[in-house]
Amino acid sequence: MIQQLAPVLVLIVVVVGFVVVSLSLTFLAGPKRKPTAQKQMPYECGIPGIDNQTTKFSVKFYLTAILFILFDIEVIFLYPWALIYTDFLNYGPFIFVEMMVFMAILTFGFIYVWKANALDWD
């Protein structure tokens, strides 16, 4: 376990060190100029924007994220099943049928989502 985890932790330290070093290098080496009003404004094609307009964002982002969670859980269940599938085939079609039932139920869900136009226009 620790032989697998230690390199990951070391790499995190290395990357964070790299980021910190390069950012401090830029901080030290870059010219220090006073911020003007023009430079500080958010960039909107060069035209000064109408401020504080809270744009109404679409609910599609929420729907995409929720559907992603649910189908991601299905995929997570598929991973361990795929490992033992061929071993369990020695015991008959049970392992095949149980996963097909699982996927059929979720495919019904997917078809419902498709028909309900929840995947459109994103």
Binding site: Q4, L5, Y62, L63, D72, I73, E98, I105, Y112, A116
Partner: protein, 239 residues
């Protein structure tokens, strides 16, 4: 050295980061930072699972919790332009008092559950507490990960070898592919402890009903999410 193994240090580091992250979730003002700290806590929980040799659960935790659920939270929070709430929690109002009462009840519940769990583990001779045995394994210089994933014979501890299990072991040695008894609690010194193969063998044979029930649960969630979005006018054309 001081009797502190690297596993102990790792555990305490991860536990510390997770606890601090969880506390910061409720303490920071900006809700997006809260969500990001919660995502950090989820990742560190995944790392703790990894140190407990539950590799698949660790990856599933990071994929689903940190990589999907918290992404949803962060995305939705960014869609709203929330103003910071400057509310003084220490003012005496009925709402604040009931919040404190709820937190106190939760703490009592958690402490009680933890006490129960620890005494259950101490009372059961078959289960081992992980860090000790991992240290023992390291002393024996055992590397369970080097063995191939398809190893199927069991090495049960002396604690629960009886006639039934002995017969099972003999049978396992004869056949090429045999399912280990899912009722046998694995010991941390097994080759297969924590391997995804042993987890999935149990999941798809003994716990298949729970597995199918999960699919129904997901279906309900899918339909619910779409219905919720539709009721807010989200899925009509031109929306």
């Amino acid at each position: 050295m001081l009797g502190i193994t690297p596993e102990d240090m790792l555990f305490h580091t991860f536990a510390g980061i997770a606890t601090i992250g969880a506390i910061l979730v409720v303490l920071v003002r900006n809700p997006i930072y809260s969500a990001l700290f919660l995502a950090l806590t989820m990742c560190v929980l995944g790392a703790i699972f990894f140190t407990l040799e539950a590799y698949f659960v660790s990856v599933a935790q990071i994929t689903v919790y940190a990589g999907a659920v918290m992404v949803l939270f962060v995305m939705v929070l960014m869609l709203f332009d929330l103003k910071h709430e400057h509310e003084d929690i220490f003012r005496i109002t009925p709402l604040n008092l009931s919040k404190i009462l709820a937190v106190a009840v939760m703490c009592g519940f958690l402490v009680g559950t933890g006490w129960l769990a620890v005494s259950a583990v101490n009372g059961n001779p078959g289960a081992h507490v992980a860090p000790q045995t991992v240290a023992q394994d390291l002393e024996k210089k055992e590397l369970p990960n080097e063995l191939p994933a398809k190893q199927t014979h069991i090495n049960p501890d002396e604690d629960f070898t009886n006639a039934e299990d002995a017969a099972l072991i003999d049978e396992a040695k004869k056949e090429e592919v045999v399912l280990p008894d899912p009722n046998v609690v694995a010991s941390t010194s097994d080759a297969e402890f924590g391997s995804t193969v042993s987890l999935s063998r149990r999941l798809f044979s003994k716990y298949v009903f729970a597995f199918e029930a999960v699919s129904l649960l997901l279906l309900v969630a899918i339909v619910g999410a779409v219905a919720l979005a539709k009721s807010k006018g989200g899925t009509h054309h031109g929306g």
